[in-house]
Symmetry: D2
Subunit: 348 residues, 4 copies
């Protein structure tokens, strides 16, 4: 069985494991107060071209989202996100468990717009009963989104401007950030993210690391006492250097971007095949997630050898599905998938 | 100025104040452990024809909603409600502040259906990643709804059945319950509510009391330790008998129903006038809230003498508005409003 | 039976009820946006000689404590209080339910000292692992304390200075504030409280009102969006003018101080009797709570006519007890209690 | 510099890293639904001789504590622990951030007694105002405690019985459990823990793993929906097999016990040396933490080569300190420490 149902089915890029092996006999101080974390933070700040950033390493995405939001918001404040946002649908109410409401905006492609944000914030201000309504204070977007789509630089700039206009924090979830930054149609840089957001994170778990997310904070209101919040929410890893070390590797010699680019190329190849075979691409994007609709008869044959993630029933005979590539996807596996799709389609 | 913008602009029905005066020199035990509360609870249980119910008195609606939900749900569980539900839009994220998500269902008229509930619960069960999604565990509806509409007995029975099928608690917010139970088209009784729900409350604040909501619990899983939760959430009134005493009066000789009926009759009268004048009734109902759309030119004249609640901009020249009647609305005030509407319309 | 077990066994001072009767037919706007609240706030600000204060009216003490603390603290911050503090022992974990730890300081008489506060704050700073420890950020004291004792002006000044030195908010719970301000040995004024604290409240429930606590905030960091927090925590009374009206009466012509003084005088009388009879005064104070130890044989006879609050078992034959006086305690009731104590003691 | 200040300064036991290397190219399902986790859980259940246990793997100790407590308690319920309990003093209020109070019991040696537990629970029941007090519902103890002391089987049985008598959950934090189970004076087995507790955990982070704690639940009231709570609190590791794999190694051929025994032996050696040199052993125990008091003049010389954890100022000239050994402490390092202590003492 070759797995394509998500992008975290393999342990980590060999270079990461090799480095952990290398440093395995060192004695280190705990809780992220170590050379690996400092060094990784320095590399990230250098790539962001901003030395005043505050960089923290956490283990996973949900943990990162809830920690950032708990640190940033006062009790009556809410975070705005797309209706398909990870914090809205796939974190078992983790944000609400910190006490905060997630305000949901309609979105067909996983993205929200500066206009939607302005309308939401303005509607709150305009409402004479606004003290009876949770106050929008943060905008949460993902780059790429849950559907693999990405914001252009122009879109991010507009969103950032809307946030500034209304005093909202801008928080970018970059659980798969590498795939966005390395997409064929990308025009956004790490510097842009550091400039335009109050806080964002660079995902490791889905981009070559065993685990780990690097939080990059530019707004000092969020930075203050951030480590207290990490500890309180259970996110402070005793052997913190495990996180720093992985990001050291990922950001040495551009490995993070290289492996993302590789996965995107394979995804593009799969998209091309699907188009040739006449299958729809559900959301247009150039990142590592491929969404399409396939006949159930095709899927029944395909799934003997290839895993995929079901993404919803379209009708009695068709199912929406997702394929993911990653740094670990072997090109011959991808080719085998494309071949199988072609053959099964021809025979059906 | 005659106020029609909501139904809590007057202190309380004279009989309530009179009774408070009467008992004002008695010494009572605190925290609801007194004769007034016992007596009021007995009356409510008798009206519900169920002696095993647990009745508690709280001060206000938001407090009641958050206390009931905090008492009923485990941390990962969510409450289902209409997109216009009070807990969703008008309580400053009070439910989320207890840690729980509110799952929003689309609704044009403030009501949700048994089918929507079953679909939501079934979708959760069907999702293989359901542990990553807040678990639906309670259904919250209002009787009447935010828009004055009411559930028929048949609808409530269907909803109750859907809840039982999926192991969901059914919670009915009755902040304006009197107006529903006394509506011209009502076929629901207090006994029905006690039978069909796990917990509901009988609103006093908007139906003749100074303040106060009577929570009626039939499900012992919610009853257990409920008073601890009331105290913890700040809802335990030191002089609890003030609440009991008001409900004693409201449920003596049918006062609660009598004053609701009166307010509904005035609302019906206003609806008739609007229809005659050719104005639309936005949501059809027979309770004390009247929703219509009026030309801004009419409103500008009207608002010199009569207050109303703006309910949304329709277009550049029209506004949706709400008028409320209550036990305190004098018939000649209502007649004056109808007359004014007629005259202004004629002259415009 | 004459009740002395607490000071909230009577509805309210007759002047309060009379005024509510007077204004009962007025139409008012909801949620504290009314003339009564404005007028009461103005009176309180005038008495505090500070026009920039922010005054809010809430229904009860636990509600007020949890609302103020939720508004003031970030998630990792804790509030320091005496081990016998109301928030520590008698609010069912209401503060913890807002997510905050209560740091407990030893106290024999219900009071804590500036030195204890400085030591706690300094210990936190000195600890190299302080990010693993909840951060002290607020000091909570009661005036008078749970044991009826009071802080002198000098003590309050020292505490305030310690708080300023360490960046801690000072919050004074004044649920029985009148009794402190009117005690025979008092040298603290409302102006002092407004000057020395970040936030304090003036209790109504136990000092002549039906219910109600007036929160007085001088620190704008706490004021900001305070009404959102009130609403979210269920403390925003729909008919808010009920609160304002009661404080209007209490602060008209010094009623609040007059009735406190009266209750204190009766308590002093009881203390004198106890001393004469050779019973110990457990904590020395001049406010309305009297703590002593009585033989169980005396209590068994006494309790046929007089209620008291048991305060702990001393030994097999003796019990610590509390007697409370209030505005509502009739002087002949107090005299009857003193007489009964004298007679029972003589016969035992 | 040789580090003795804690027991998590090294990455992991070589066998753990070797095994991760071995399985690094396997494709696995996420979130703990994999063969490594199943296999590790089976081994643990076999060692506990109880096949009905529920075993879950989390990343760290604070995360585990807060997740278990959030899963087990209703909002008004509190957890009882020693005043020095990790949840009380070293988790930045993580438990309170889940909404629950930690009730603190005095303890000189880190342990609490069955009698203390019974007294606390009984006092709650006896208090007529118990609804105003957080309800004790869980007992939290550590094995070994923060001070390295351990409960004997007899003590655990008494505590378990007290908990059953009062309907309290018993939760044992075993962050360093290996060191307790392998102590020279131990008479407690994993089976005992499974039998006597409702939930306990087996610490990996401090006993040979990179990270990881294995939660073992016998009470189905806590098991139910436990994975939802893990996810909601940010503790569900995407590549969950990393946790399972580490516990597979630790519980293969008794590695977990072997390395604990080794560390304990070194600690015993250090204790012997200290005693010989006339230094006090602050708390008597046979686990891997050694607490003593040393002259500051000795420490100043010692700390040039050896790290230790300061544990409090004794007087101007003496400091309480902790030394930790672990699986990674080399015997010659320990010998060097003993030699240094001997020499420095001789010369001072």
């Amino acid at each position: 069985m070759r797995l394509f149902h998500n992008d975290y089915n393999e342990m980590c890029h060999p270079a990461v494991l090799r480095y952990l092996q290398e440093i395995s006999s060192r004695q280190m101080d705990g809780y992220g107060d170590d050379d690996c974390c400092s060094s990784a933070a320095e590399r990230i700040k250098a790539l962001c071209e901003n030395d005043s950033l505050s960089v923290h390493f956490l283990v996973g995405g949900t943990q990162t989202n809830l920690t950032v939001i708990a640190a940033a918001l006062r009790p009556h404040q809410a975070v705005i996100g797309a209706e398909s946002a990870h914090i809205q649908v796939h974190e078992t109410g983790a944000v609400e468990a910190t006490g905060h409401k997630v305000l949901s905006l309609p979105s067909a492609d996983g993205k929200i717009t500066a206009e939607q944000i302005r309308n939401t914030a303005q509607a709150h201000l305009d409402d004479v009963t606004h003290e009876h309504i949770a106050q929008p204070k943060m905008v949460y977007i993902s780059q790429p989104t849950e559907l693999g789509t990405t914001y252009s630089l122009a879109e991010l700039e507009q969103i950032s401007q809307a946030c500034k206009q209304y005093g909202l924090y801008l928080f970018v979830d970059g659980a798969r950030l590498g795939y966005a930054l390395s997409a064929a149609d990308n025009d956004v840089t790490l510097q842009d993210l550091a400039n335009l957001t109050d806080v964002f994170y660079i995902g490791g778990t889905k981009v070559g690391a065993m685990f780990g997310e690097a939080v990059v904070i530019s707004n000092t209101a969020i930075t203050e006492d951030f480590r207290y919040i990490i500890k309180q929410r259970g996110g402070m890893l005793a052997k913190g250097w495990l996180l720093g070390a992985q990001f050291e590797v990922l950001f040495k010699d551009g490995l993070y971007f290289e492996i993302s680019k590789y996965a995107n190329r394979l995804a593009d190849k799969l998209r091309d095949t699907l188009v040739e075979l006449g299958y729809p691409i559900l959301v247009q994007c150039r990142t590592n997630q491929v969404f399409t609709v396939l006949p159930n008869t095709v899927l029944q044959k395909l799934e003997k050898e290839f895993s995929y993630a079901p993404w919803g029933t379209v009708d009695d005979n068709h199912t929406a599905v997702r394929f993911c590539t990653s740094w670990a996807t072997m090109e011959d596996s991808l080719d085998a998938l494309c071949d199988a799709l072609t053959k099964i389609t021809a025979n059906s």
